[in-house]
């Protein structure tokens, strides 16, 4: 099971790799509406980076809903149990 701090730290690294302009203070609350760089290419890149990091490949239907940092936290927490 993934520990909370470890999970968040690793997910932050993934988000930071895809959205390098985001500051640490906002990264844990970002969503697709607030990040202009979060387009379809960035979304697919984020899916793959998270897949590499956690070994979790989001199903197509799930992927459409994973449009914020908190949504990813919840999703990964569920997969970690």
């Amino acid at each position: 099971m993934l520990r909370m701090n470890d999970l968040e730290h690793r997910l932050r690294r993934c988000f930071h790799a895809v959205f390098p302009a985001l500051s640490d203070s906002v990264i844990s609350t970002v969503s697709v509406e607030g990040v202009s760089q979060w387009d379809s290419v960035a979304h697919v890149t984020l899916l793959e980076v998270i897949h590499e990091e956690f070994g979790v490949l989001a199903a197509e239907d799930d992927a459409e809903q994973l449009t914020s940092f908190p949504a990813w936290m919840d999703y990964l927490r569920q997969r970690g149990q």
């Binding site: 690294r13 790799a17 390098p20 697919v44 890149t45 793959e48 980076v49 590499e52 990091e53 992927a63």
Partner: protein, 570 residues
């Protein structure tokens, strides 16, 4: 490389670095291939700001045709749907047997169009083509285990196209060395239009980057003899009984000999370092069944002394540095002894009796010495090194560079303008280390841009004397402004040292361009000591040579000079 690592490499690129733009043309969404390619090129060009231009998806030919001439290369990643959309999964409707002939005809037409676009792009810079890396879809009536005639026809048309492209001088990626399954990511392809698993995309990107920015091939291989070039110890079993054939279970040594001959024919220097008696070795080398010619092995360092001393003597004769050389031996102790004396030398084991390991060594040698094309200089290299050794020996016995000796050598210098397609001139600039003004390497595009400048000149110098031709051995490039000449490129092959060619080159520049001063873009590198020593001898102040100082310090010159590089003076 993982995708996150690639993104971090890209983010760390220097903001102020010179731009290095590459076009990636592919019919599918380039996504991770573009990212990984970017990262691999960025790693090879850490001081540049690399950018990958991708053009419009689904328009392979359009992206190739509209690539800016200033890009450093065009990389084309084909897949089957580029030849006909019905060969992909994102447009359906072509799996009926009645549709196949039309798909084949359509693919042929597309290959012809693609060929023209590739040739046109190759006229302005490097083009690298990767053929389809995914299998044809299960669209034919046969079970996958059976090759259908239609699939064979498509693949044959593709193979014919690739042969024409490669023959036209365009670099083609060979798919065989790439890792095999899994390649096709059907989920990602249907979801986002990207067809590869990311690990496979990384392997492709790595190879494409290496084709765009290939590492300089090594220059020489020094080989052991007993249990390496042949099986057996010649001093124990005699010259007639060392083997390299199937019947004696030693065929892998014959394969190694065949490779060495192939390398020698491609201009690689092949020397011998062996602990043996010279007479016995020469007896083996005269055997008619030997697969590498005795003439291709030079020099032969056969003695009972340490291998490192033999290697040192060979390096002196070749006049190249240890880091340009591979040493091959069956003995781990000999490899370690040589490696200890020459830490920068590459050592490879040829463990006789372990055929698999020997085979891997043979593959690694081909990798280290692979070159995209062969030049006339490659063909004559071994002979010219022999000639240089004769000259050096004669010079030494005459007590140095005696005027009388040089006068009698019948030296002829031919100086020509560098043509755009002169691969040897570009190669010299990019591989010469010791006599190199500043060690700067240039891409083909940078080289062409430099040659196109109105005030620029670029000269290539060829040399021959009574000991034989050396071919093209020096390149000088720069610009003139009034009576000042700025030399930003000056390289000379180490085979041409000790002939006063460097003095003749300077004299030619002063005479041909009617300048009073030459400014040199000299920078010290770890390896350009020979040029630095020469400049310290002839320059008044660092980086400047005047005609007066040259006249004062220049020794007598005896070359005949044919200058074919007459230019318009600015």
């Amino acid at each position: 490389m993982k995708l996150r690592e690639a993104l971090e490499v890209i983010q760390a690129q220097p903001a102020a670095g010179a731009p290095f733009h590459v076009t990636l043309a592919c019919g599918f969404t380039p996504l991770h291939l573009a990212t990984l390619l970017h990262a691999h090129i960025q790693r090879s060009r850490p001081h540049n700001r690399v950018k990958i231009n991708t053009g419009l998806y689904d328009d392979l030919v359009g992206t190739i045709s509209t690539a800016a001439p200033s890009v450093q290369g065009v990389i084309v990643q084909m897949e089957w749907p580029d030849l006909d959309p019905r060969l992909g999964l994102r447009q359906l409707g072509g799996w009926s047997p009645t549709a196949i002939p039309d798909i084949i005809a359509s693919a042929r037409r597309k290959l012809d169009i693609l060929q023209e676009a590739l040739k046109s792009a190759a006229a302005t810079g490097p083009v690298i083509l990767s053929p389809p890396l995914l299998e044809l879809l299960p669209m034919f009536h046969t079970a996958p285990r059976q090759l259908s005639a239609d699939a064979a026809r498509l693949e044959a048309d593709l193979a014919d196209f690739l042969a024409r492209i490669a023959a036209a001088g365009i670099t083609v990626l060979h798919p065989d060395p790439l890792p095999h399954p899994p390649r096709f990511d059907v989920r990602a392809y249907l979801q986002s239009g990207f067809p590869y698993h990311v690990d496979f995309a990384d392997a492709v990107a790595r190879q494409l980057a290496a084709l765009l920015l290939p590492p300089a091939p090594l220059k020489g291989v020094i080989t052991d003899l007993d249990d390496t070039l042949w099986k057996g110890i010649v001093g124990e079993v005699g010259a007639a009984n060392v083997t390299w054939d199937l019947a004696s279970h030693s065929q892998i040594h014959g394969v190694y000999q065949t490779l060495l001959q192939s390398l020698a024919d491609a201009g690689v220097l092949v020397g011998v370092a062996s602990k043996n008696s010279l007479g016995e070795v020469e007896e083996v080398l005269r055997r008619p069944d030997l697969l590498v010619s005795e003439r291709s092995l030079f020099p032969l360092e056969v003695s009972w002394g340490p291998k490192s001393e033999a290697v040192a003597r060979i390096l002196r004769v070749w006049n190249i540095a240890a880091d340009s050389v591979v040493f091959v031996d069956d003995s781990p102790m000999e490899l370690a002894e040589v490696s200890s004396a020459f830490p920068s030398i590459k050592t490879l084991a040829f463990p006789t009796g372990d055929t698999e390991a020997c085979w891997r060594t043979i593959g690694e040698l081909r990798e280290l010495f692979g070159k995209p094309l062969l030049t006339e200089e490659d063909r004559i290299r071994v002979d010219s090194v022999r000639g240089a050794a004769v000259l050096d020996g004669a010079t030494a016995s005459a007590g140095g560079q005696s005027d009388r000796f040089l006068e009698q050598s019948g030296a002829l210098l031919t100086i020509d303008r560098v043509e755009l397609d002169d691969a040897r001139a570009w190669e010299l600039v990019n591989k010469t280390n010791q006599f190199n003004l500043n060690g700067r390497r240039v891409t083909q595009v940078e080289w062409r841009e430099m040659l196109a400048r109105p005030s620029a000149f670029a000269l290539v110098v060829s040399y021959q004397d009574k000991y034989g031709p050396l071919g093209k051995i020096a390149v000088l490039a720069g610009e003139t402004s009034g009576d000042i000449l700025r030399l930003h490129t000056w390289v000379m092959s180490c085979r041409a040292f000790s002939r006063r060619i460097e003095f003749e080159c300077l004299r030619y520049l002063f005479d041909e361009f009617a300048v009073r001063e030459i400014n040199l873009d000299f920078e010290t590198t770890p390896k350009n000591g020979p040029l630095r020593v020469f400049l310290e001898r002839v320059t008044d102040c660092p980086g400047t040579i005047t005609l007066a100082s040259l006249n004062h310090l220049c020794p007598p010159l005896f070359h005949s000079v044919i200058g074919n590089a007459t230019h318009e003076r600015s």
